[in-house]
């Protein structure tokens, strides 16, 4: 199967700090690929490079065979890459439904002029946006929250709403940044079910950063381990789990020469 996303020799440096160094990652069609690694390993930095928030110093990032390294973020989104954030990437001040409506931005079939005059097409489009947003929320069992504001909702729910907004952008490739953070084991389990269901029904490919090991083991087809900006190892979840270097990196064993906790992950 062909790769949806292929990251080749990508490196990025912030001053003297090498955040990513010669990273090679392939995300094949219809797979859920995990990205794990200790804090400051460069996972979120890699996401920022994929989305275009950062420009890598070297290497290429291509999506379905075309190089997207130079495209601005919104063009990458229009191509079908959706992303969630480590902290909540939602627009506070808008309701849940409105968030899902804004997220459909690139596919809105009227221009500023149409909006101004208020053509029938504009209203039809607005109705379509609303319906589509409702359908996404329905799919995630969130319809009861459609008109509520974000303040006061539990963190785990916000994480799920965020997945909803990303689905509203109509992605082919989902980049999930710690989707289970703020969730208990049961919720994380439910999330795992949801991801598998999403993949099956919407034909999605997923690349996700995740710390919750059971979720990674249960859901991912393949796992990359990042450490100090480099791919340390990769393989089937079960293999990676037993890899001595991985255990060392997580638990701080003898392989780890310097336990520096520099956090290169800039929160979005």
């Amino acid at each position: 199967m062909s790769s949806v996303l292929s990251i080749k020799n990508t490196g990025i440096r912030f001053g003297g700090l090498v955040a990513l160094n010669d990273v090679n990652i392939e995300v094949p069609e219809w797979e859920i690929v995990g990205l794990i690694g200790p804090n400051g390993a460069g996972k979120t930095t890699l996401f920022n490079c994929i989305m275009g928030a950062y420009t890598p110093n070297s290497g290429t990032i291509s999506y379905r065979g075309t190089d997207i390294s130079l495209l601005p973020t919104h063009r990458r989104v229009a191509k079908g890459i959706g992303r969630t954030f480590q902290n909540i990437g939602l627009v506070r001040g808008l309701t849940v439904l409105e968030n899902c409506m804004v997220a459909q931005h690139p596919r809105i079939g009227y221009g500023a002029a149409g909006a101004l005059i208020g053509m029938p097409r504009t209203f039809a489009e607005e109705r379509r946006l609303r319906n589509y947003a409702m359908e996404v929320l329905d799919f995630l069992d969130l319809t009861h929250l459609a008109n509520s504001h974000l303040d006061g909702l539990p963190y785990g729910t916000l994480k799920l709403i965020e997945i909803g907004t990303v689905l509203a952008t109509d992605p082919d490739l989902l980049l999930l940044d710690e989707p289970s953070s703020g969730m208990g084991p049961d919720e994380a389990h439910a999330l795992g079910e949801r991801l598998l269901k999403l993949r099956k029904t919407l034909n999605l490919t997923v690349l996700m950063i995740e710390h919750h090991v059971p979720l990674v083991v249960g859901v991912c087809d393949y796992v990359y381990v990042l450490n100090f900006g480099q791919v340390m190892t990769s393989g089937r979840p079960a293999e990676v789990q037993r890899h001595p270097e991985v255990i060392a990196a997580y638990l701080g064993g003898e392989v780890d020469e310097s336990s520096s906790e520099e956090d290169a992950d800039v929160p979005a």
């Binding site: 959706g82 990437g89 799919f139 319809t143």
Partner: protein
């Protein structure tokens, strides 16, 4: 495939839950109140003394300026202290066009000339604001505020001093168009433009443009991942603000009938920021009310008879002088006590007028309102499925593994 898709559409349709809507009497009452408000404003304009009508047209112009500033301040979330630059440039351009190019004399000026002058002025305001918008892509917050401040001063010291454009200290005449020349007629003309600006503001905010701009205000990174072209929309917001400021500038020029650079100084820009804050950031109706209040304030002050004597003879100050003093006080009160400004205070009434039940709290009734579900060819129809058809049964293997893993983790936790 086609057959399945049709079926899907059928199943997705859900029973539409009823939305609260006013009764016929309710609508009549709302229309009556609305008519009363507009009627009294128009009646007042038609019947007050001429110098009051003159002030009312200034109130309408201020309201347009307020809406212009509201885009930058309320929607984009940046402070502009240089709005007198945009308004001033547009005013001079309008006056210059009317007097020097179209040949208006002190006695007569055709309506078409006035309209052309206003369009040109609006465009020049938009261009001036676009420059600032491009700067705003790089710089924001306090530093952008400083740059706008500098921008205003530069405009004051350079553009407003160009002799051929501003006619030096004597000022550039701008004769009011024929048929709209009296104070009263000109006030109605200003109302037309205000209505137009409100309409444009309302339509854009209600559409994808407004949602995009609001998202950018909250988080540019999130807006970009929603597929919004952050750069373009930010510049668009500034351009729109400049366009409104340009219209206001042109109206101001014809309102004054002779534009001098003293009309536009930092005190104006400050007053405009104050009136938007007091009106309520991002609240259209509040901003219009706040702006009108600030424009009329000196006259309202004079309604109190003895006060005029006190201000003029004891303090030796014109009533205008106190607008900014009182305005600052109101702004402090707004920021500390009533963050939503006038707009929030009148919100129960405006919500009611907009066809919602009367309630003092914004979501009083909406909390219980089940959103309407409708059929659509959306998310699942794309792949020919409905939610109920999506089962997880086929995933049993994967899920079993997941379940075991979760169980494992729980055991780990308990250990």
């Amino acid at each position: 495939m086609t057959a399945t898709a049709t079926e899907v559409l059928e199943t997705v349709r859900a029973e539409p839950t009823e939305r609260w809507s006013p009764s016929v009497q309710g609508w009549v009452a709302r229309l009556l109140v609305l008519g009363l408000i507009f009627g009294s404003v128009l009646w007042a304009t038609a019947n007050v003394p001429s110098y009051w009508a003159d002030r009312i047209s200034l109130a309408a112009i201020y309201a347009i300026i307020g809406l212009s500033l509201n885009i930058v301040l309320g929607y984009v979330g940046q402070v502009s202290l240089g709005h007198h630059g945009f308004v001033g440039i547009a005013a001079f351009v309008a006056a210059y066009y009317a007097t020097q190019k179209a040949g208006c004399t002190v006695d007569t000026c055709s309506f078409n000339t006035f309209m052309t002058a206003t369009v040109i002025a609006a465009l020049s305001g938009a261009v001036a604001a676009m420059l600032l918008g491009l700067i705003a892509l790089r710089i924001r917050g306090l530093y952008l505020a400083l740059i706008t401040l500098a921008y205003g001063f530069v405009a004051e010291r350079s553009i407003f001093e160009i002799p051929f454009l501003t006619n030096g200290g004597a000022g550039m005449p701008a004769t009011r168009p024929d048929g709209w020349a009296t104070d009263r007629e000109f006030a109605f003309l200003c109302f037309f433009f205000l209505a137009g600006v409100i309409f444009v503001d309302w339509r854009l905010l209600k559409s994808k443009v407004g949602r995009a701009i609001l998202s950018i205000k909250h988080s540019e990174a999130v807006a970009a991942t929603y597929g919004i072209n952050v750069t373009a929309y930010k510049v668009l917001a500034f351009v729109l603000s400049g366009l409104f400021a340009g219209i206001a500038g042109s109206l101001f020029a014809f309102h004054e009938t002779n534009v001098v650079s003293n009309n536009f100084n930092f005190a104006n820009a400050l007053l405009w920021v104050l009136m938007v804050v007091v009106g309520g950031l991002g609240n259209r109706i509040g901003v219009v009310i706040g702006s009108a209040f600030f424009a009329l304030f000196p006259f309202l002050l004079l309604l109190i008879g003895p006060l005029e004597h006190f201000l003029r003879d004891t303090l030796h100050r014109e009533p205008d002088y106190f607008t900014i003093v009182i305005g600052s006080g109101l702004a402090i009160l707004t920021l500390i006590q009533y963050p939503g400004g006038i707009g929030e205070q009148v919100a129960p009434i405006t919500r009611w007028l907009g066809g919602k039940p009367f309630s003092m709290h914004p979501e009083g009734h909406e909390k219980h309102k089940a959103p309407k579900k409708q059929r659509s060819g959306g998310l699942l129809a794309k792949v020919g499925l409905h939610k109920s058809q999506v089962s997880t049964e086929n995933n049993t293997e994967e899920l079993a593994a997941l379940g075991r893993a979760v169980e494992g983790s729980k055991e780990d936790d308990s250990e």
